[in-house]
Amino acid sequence: MAQFAAAIPQVTRAQVRRRREWLIDLVLLAPGLGYLLVFMCVPLVQVALRGFGLLAIGEPSQFTLGLYREVLANKIDRDSIIFSLYFALGTTVISLILSLVISALLQIKFPGRYIISVLYKIPLVVPSLVAAFLVLTIIDQGGIISRALLPYGVEWPELVHDRYGLGIILVLVWHNVPIMTVILSAVMSGIPHDVTAAARNLGASPWQVFRNITVPLSLPGISAASLLVFIGVFGAFSIPSLLGAAYPKAIAVVMSNEVLDRANWGLASALGTIVTALSAILLYVYYRLIRHQEAALR
C-alpha cells in the first residue's frame, strides 16, 4: 500500500487527496445546504421570475415589466414600502439605543444581576404575537395605562392602529431589544477589562469610556445587530397586520393580502423581489462598511 502510494508522483497524490477532501466537504455540506437550495433558493428564483411575469400562476406566462410598473405607479404600494422602511428604521434606532444602555449596564455587577440577565431573555422566547397582545393590553386606548390615567383627566394618545405605527414600533422594540442585547453583551464582555481600566486610568469618565471605548469596540456587534433587526423588521408581517393603521400598510401585509386574498402571486412576487433587493443592497453596503471597520480594528 505504502509502496504503491510512493510510486505515484507527489503532485498527483496531492490532487487525489484534495479531491477526496472536496468530496468529504460536499457530502458533509449536502444535507444542510441541499435543503436550503431546494427549499429556499428554488422558491426565491421562482419569486424573482414570477415578478417578471414568468412562471405565472393562473395566467399565461410572459416576460413583462408590467408588474414592476404597476407597483411603482401605485401610490399605495409605494407608501407601504416607505412605511415599512420607516418603522424598520425607527425600531432599529430605538432598540439599538436601549440595548446599548442595557448591555453596558449589565457589564456592571449589581445585586440581582443574574435574575435580570435571565429575565431580559424572556422576550426572546415569547412569540411576537404574544408580545402584540401583551403590549395591546397595556398601551392601547382602553389599555391599562390609559385607564390608570383616566382619573387624572389625561387623555392617552392613540398608539395602536395609528398612522405613525407607534404601536408597531413599540412591540417590535420590545421583541428586538433582547436580541440586540444578547449580541451586544457578548461583544462587550469580550472587551478586555484592561482596556477600559486603562481609559479610566487616563482620566476618562464612565460616560467617556462608554462613548470612546465601549461603543467603538462594539461596532462590529452593533452593525451586525442593527442590520439583522432592520431587515427582519422591514419584512415583518404579524405585528403590523395586527397593530397597523388602515393606511398605510406594511409591505408584508400588502404582499400577504395579494397572495391570500387575491391570489395575485405575480404582484406579490414583484413586491417580494423589491423587498429582497432592498435587503440585499443593505447587506452589501454593510459588508463594504464592515470590511473597513474590521480592518481598522485589527
Partner: protein, 407 residues
C-alpha cells in the same frame, strides 16, 4: 451548481395539467346515488344510507362569529349520525383562493363543504369549485328560503347551488350611555362627527364588510340615480368600474367633509373595540358581530345598533358542496342539518346571525339581556337594503382608498 438548480426549478414549476370535472355529464360531482332522481321529498331516504358509510367530512367555515357555535353543532351532528365532521375556521378569501388553486392544480379539495363569503361565489363557480347541485331545491330544510337570497349571491346568479345559511346586517353602533340621540341620517352623522371630533370610527372599506357596507349605503343615498347599475348583476368588470367612477363623486364629497372628524379602523372588530374602549361614540359594525362580542363581554351594556333612515345594506353568506368531494351524500346530509330549525335558531340566539328561512319562528328566542344588541325588527325590515353589485363596491373601495384614505 447552477444547472441542477435550474433543473429543479423547472421540475417544481412544471404546470400540472388541468383535470376535467368528474362525474356524469350533467353534474360535476361524483355520487353513489343517482343524482338525477334526487328530490326534496326522497332526500332523506336516498341520501342517508349512502351518507352513513362516509366519514371525515371537512367543513370550512369562514364566519368569525360562527366559528365557536358551528364547532359545537358539528360535534352534535356527528353524535346524531355517526358521521365525523372536521370543522375548520378559515379566512374567507384565503380559503377561496386555496380551493380555486387546488381545483386548478387538479388536486382533491381540502374541504367538502364551504360556508364562504358571498362575493367569492362568482370566482368559485367559474373555477368549478362549486358542485352544481341546486341545494335550495333539494334540501328539505331549505323549503322556505327567502327568494331574494335563494339563487344569487351578491348579484351572482348561481341558481341555488349555494344555499343561504346566514343573513346579516350592517349598522351603526353607538354608546347609549353617552349618546342620547344617535345619528339616523348621513347629515346627522356628519354633524355628530363635527361635534365629537375623533369619536366616530369607520371600518376601512377594504378591511371589513361593515366598512364596505357603509360605503354601499352611502352610494345608495348619494347617487340614487345609479340604482339600476347597482343592482344590475350582469355588468362586466369594466362596466362596474365605470359605474363606480360615475357614482362616487357625491359620496367622495361627503367623505371629504367627514374624514377630518373620524377615525378609520382596520377591521370590523376593531371598530367595536373602539366603542368598548370609549374611544368611539359611534362606529360602523355588523349587527351579528356586535351581538356575538356582546355575549363574550367585549361590548358594553350600553351599546346599541341603529340603521340610517336612507337604508343600510344587509347581506348573507351561503354554503355549498365542493365539486371534488368524495363524500357527497354525507355533505348533503350535513348541509341539510345546518339549515335545520335548531341550528338556525341557535345561530340567532348565540350569535345574532339572522336566518334566510322566512317561516322560521324566532320570536322570544333571544334572551332578554341580549336582545338590545339587535336592531329592532321594525327598523330592520324598513331600513335594510340588499347589497349592490360587488364589482362596483370593489371599484368604489379602490377609489375610496385612493381619494380618501391615502390622502
Amino acid at each position: 451548481m447552477i444547472a441542477p438548480l435550474l433543473f429543479l426549478v423547472v421540475i417544481l414549476v412544471a404546470p400540472v395539467g388541468a383535470v376535467s370535472p368528474v362525474g356524469a355529464d350533467k353534474f360535476n360531482v361524483r355520487a353513489q346515488i343517482d343524482l338525477s332522481k334526487l328530490t326534496r321529498d326522497n332526500f332523506t331516504a336516498m341520501v342517508t344510507p349512502a351518507a352513513k358509510s362516509q366519514s371525515g367530512l371537512v367543513f370550512y367555515d369562514f364566519a368569525d362569529t360562527l366559528c365557536e357555535l358551528l364547532a359545537k353543532e358539528s360535534a352534535e351532528f356527528t353524535q346524531q349520525t355517526g358521521i365525523a365532521v372536521k370543522h375548520v375556521c378559515v379566512d374567507g378569501d384565503t380559503a377561496t383562493q386555496q380551493l380555486i388553486a387546488e381545483a386548478q392544480a387538479g388536486k382533491p379539495a381540502s374541504a367538502d363543504l364551504f360556508f364562504g363569503p358571498n362575493n367569492s361565489m362568482r370566482a368559485l363557480t367559474k373555477a368549478g369549485v362549486i358542485a352544481n347541485l341546486p341545494l335550495v331545491d333539494l334540501l328539505p330544510n331549505a323549503t322556505d328560503v327567502e327568494q331574494a337570497a335563494a339563487r344569487a349571491s351578491r348579484g351572482f346568479k348561481h341558481g341555488g347551488t349555494v344555499v343561504p345559511f346566514h343573513r346579516n346586517q350592517t349598522a351603526l353602533a353607538y354608546n347609549s350611555a353617552l349618546v342620547t340621540k344617535p345619528p339616523q341620517t348621513f347629515e346627522e352623522l356628519l354633524t355628530f362627527a363635527r361635534e365629537h371630533s375623533g369619536k366616530v370610527t369607520v371600518t376601512d372599506p377594504t378591511h371589513g364588510g361593515s366598512g364596505s357596507g357603509f360605503l354601499e349605503s352611502a352610494l345608495l343615498k348619494f347617487s340614487p340615480q345609479c340604482k339600476d347599475d347597482y343592482y344590475n348583476f350582469d355588468l362586466t368588470k369594466e362596466q362596474a368600474a365605470a359605474a363606480a367612477q360615475r357614482c362616487m363623486a357625491p359620496v367622495l364629497a361627503y367623505w371629504r367633509s367627514l374624514k377630518p372628524h373620524i377615525k378609520f379602523s382596520n377591521s370590523n372588530e376593531n371598530s367595536i373595540k373602539a366603542l368598548a374602549n370609549n374611544v368611539a361614540l359611534v362606529a360602523t359594525v355588523w349587527e351579528d358581530d356586535l351581538f356575538t362580542l356582546a355575549t363574550k363581554g367585549l361590548v358594553p351594556q350600553s351599546a346599541r345598533p341603529v340603521l340610517l333612515q336612507t337604508g343600510q345594506v344587509g347581506d348573507g353568506d351561503g354554503l355549498f358542496i365542493v365539486a371534488s368531494t368524495q363524500k357527497l351524500e354525507a355533505a348533503l346530509l350535513y348541509a341539510n342539518f345546518l339549515m335545520s330549525d335548531k341550528v338556525q335558531i341557535d345561530k340567532l340566539e348565540q350569535t345574532g346571525s339572522r336566518t334566510a328561512r322566512v317561516n322560521l319562528q324566532t320570536k322570544g328566542k333571544i334572551p332578554e339581556k341580549l336582545a338590545k344588541f339587535l336592531v329592532l325588527d321594525t327598523m330592520y325590515h324598513e331600513r335594510t337594503r340588499p347589497r349592490i353589485n360587488g364589482q362596483i363596491t370593489d371599484a368604489a373601495a379602490d377609489l375610496f382608498v385612493k381619494e380618501i384614505i391615502a390622502k
